[in-house]
Symmetry: C3
Subunit: 343 residues, 3 copies
């Protein structure tokens, strides 16, 4: 069973999650064994031995091969069987392998046609590579469809309510908003004028209780790759612009669960680990104790139904999320059409 | 999805469970948000925002309105949207609301047609309102269809076995029994002569080890509203009649789970909180450690099948429960017929 | 619902598990109440009262009868109702009973036609009865189809990998193997020459680090009754043959779960309880921490599919397991055919 699009880049893991000990993560309904071989090469194969269908991730890496822990069949990174203590090494023992690349501290996986992977660039998240921005990382497992999670970021009007007192204020509803589609990229902008930030944000952005102009800009690329830039511009000439960059990566695990990777960075403020810790804790607290319960409750409410099939009320703030969903649906139709045999 | 009858009074909660902080309880398969507004008005609405389908109970009450915790839509007690920070306030945003009333320390809900609610009285449980009877309260969640629970009360022959040594004795099998139907009310009577009560009951009823005549009378009204009167009459002229009144209210949560509210009162004995505590503990212990495990095991044994569809053996003691089930089935048929469009 | 074959001997319990207090175990999808009556007679009946379908195992044994804990119906070992406080004792109250016998410290059950039970001997496991062999016992519940567990024992090539360092060495892959079918019995042999045992086995078999010849011989009878004889023959004239006998009994609980009973014995070594304890702990450790997680992961990977329907790669080492599966499938077909009405 394959859940959702195959010919897109998904984030499979944070770099640090994958070492020589095989690591299993289900992506789009398919269990994947991720590992690094003795030479350090990154590999991803179907986490299922063709002999007895046990997870290969329960085995171990020997040299360049992944060895099944049950009867010792060994596989190369391309899925070919390279050793079989139980019989002949044959082509029929080849398992699926997946194109992976490591970039921006993340392991990216392409669940579909490897040739297409080479033609498709990963969107630019090089901000993560700038150590001066002091990136903070997190992973959250979520019992919700990944699109409910991208909806959340693409409609930040929710921060006034769901994150009242921490990330949002009552000024949010008066924001000037716009959403723009360029190719398969959706941009969602929000400008909030004359806002006194919450105590948490005031400390974070060092605005000293002064009114600010805050802009929140989201760039979304399929399937769920997002860069949220928050710029705070306090009143008064002596103040410089402060920016944070929050990267959100949502990957479907099953039809109703998802992996959520996030990276938070900032381009201002002192070189201070305690400050980093507080910044990270503030974000994680919002994601874990406010967004996650709400979105998981939404999923339980939807059950196995698709949100749009239930006829939800739609408002202006939903525009970006709807545009993103349209792009995904179009890509799903194209992928389904391409996989049908010509008649 | 609606589980079971809609046009009946169900107990939704004990009064003390519902305050300004919204409270969610699933009734007949439908999640309901119960709350009290700033003016103290009680309200019950479908616990699902029409925008993103999150539970409104995750939001908060502001003045007279229930405000969604995700994007701030606000609803009045009648389900009308009264504020929408994300767009226009329109009729299409109206959510379902339910008729509720507070009576006998309980919150009663009508899941169907409000006009019919006005025509249907709640059965009399005014015994609860008599503080002199020292009411003791309990709520138990049960993984069983509510009819398995009403069966239990309507056939008290089980107390000889399931509550041997606490509520029942071997004399129970010799009881004179009768069941009577009046309209939609079922009465089930049981008279046990010359019974030496168990130590627990002997202490409770202050019978000093003397033989007694015990009558157990159940009044059942649809769907699962029961008054059990236990009268104990000891031998000897100096003894007065002692009565306890146990109210049992079963409400379907889903097709295989139920809410069970109970109130125990007594018309004799001293004004003694410790005595109340023991009386309450004795009842709760029987309900929780004897009835609940048995009835939940019965539900597991039935799976998704209906009891009567499996052809159970039926005895004289089952008469009242069968009569109650017939009344419910007739009401279900009538409700289903009424909801079909005329052809 | 009946899961799997009915006309075979299954192990239902270890003798010590069943006493006067009724014991419930689900066999082939059917809940069974096992108990010993006051006279010590062993009995097994359908664990479901015909009145309200509650488990009879929640009741108690009174004399020779099993009494329902809900309304007091009592049943004899043959399933006949012998007392009914609620009404007449009739034939229609008879419940299913199952043929049981106690042998080799185990309770064996026949879920099908009692006449056929009498014609079918239980395979010989009299080694268990030889107290000099110091039998060690274990029971493991497994979330896997019982055939995945019999596959495991019938293809011991896995010990090189799954039990590396404890039960297997790299010599295992060089073993001479053979499998033979005699009637409905499958034999699987494996001879490993010139093997230096692992430290655990070296201590167990007292081989003092010397090379040995190890033979592993499995006898399988339907449905999942196995005797594994391990013989270790060290080099050098002064050494005598050491043998262990491990009995494995797998019983289907549901279509994807099983009961696993095992007995380990040895024909050598001192009369030493500490040695017994270490021998037992070593086996249980392998079964619980190595076999069980692997086989349960295999079941999760298969989901509700049958292994062979998914087209697994098959090697020489799978021969015995495939032969056993063929015998079972043939028996299933015969049983299904016999249960169809003649046309």
């Amino acid at each position: 069973m394959s859940v959702d699009l195959k010919n897109v880049w998904y984030v499979a893991a944070m770099s640090g999650e994958v070492a020589e000990k095989p690591f299993s993560r289900t992506i789009c309904g398919t269990p994947v064994a991720l590992y690094r071989s003795a030479s350090g090469a990154l590999a991803a194969v179907h986490d299922r031995c063709p002999h007895r269908f046990v997870p290969l991730s329960m085995g171990s890496v020997k040299g360049e091969a992944l060895v099944c822990g049950y009867h010792g069949l060994a596989f190369a990174a391309d899925g070919a069987c390279v050793e079989n203590p139980q019989g002949a090494v044959t082509k029929s023992l080849t398992i699926r392998s997946f194109t992976v690349q490591e970039r921006y501290g993340l392991i990216w996986i392409w669940m579909g046609d490897a040739d297409l992977a080479a033609l498709t660039p990963i969107p630019d998240f090089s901000l993560i590579d700038d150590a001066a921005l002091r990136p903070q990382w997190g992973y959250i497992h979520s019992k919700a469809h990944f699109e409910l999670m991208t909806d959340n970021i693409l409609d930040l009007s929710h921060i006034e309510f769901l994150h009242a007192g921490t990330l949002g204020t009552e000024k949010i509803r008066d924001a000037k908003t716009a959403s723009v589609v360029e190719g398969r990229t959706v941009f969602s902008h929000r400008t909030v004028d004359d806002e006194i930030l919450t105590p948490f944000l005031d400390r974070s952005f060092e605005t000293g209780g002064r009114p600010v102009t805050r802009t929140l800009s989201v760039r979304w690329d399929p399937p769920g790759l997002m860069l949220l830039t928050v710029a705070v511009n306090p009143a008064g000439p002596e103040q410089a612009l402060r920016e944070t960059y929050n990267m959100h990566f949502m990957t479907p695990e099953t039809a109703t669960t998802a992996h959520y990777f996030w990276v938070g960075t900032r381009r201002y403020g002192p070189d201070d680990p305690e400050r980093d810790r507080l910044f990270r804790a503030g974000l994680e607290n919002a994601f874990l104790t406010e967004d996650k319960p709400m979105i998981e409750a939404q999923q339980r409410s939807l059950g196995s139904a698709e949100l749009l099939d239930l006829g939800p009320a739609l408002f202006k703030g939903d525009a970006a999320a709807i545009q993103a969903r349209r792009i995904l649906d179009e890509m799903r139709r194209a992928e389904a059409a391409a996989s049908r045999p010509a008649s």
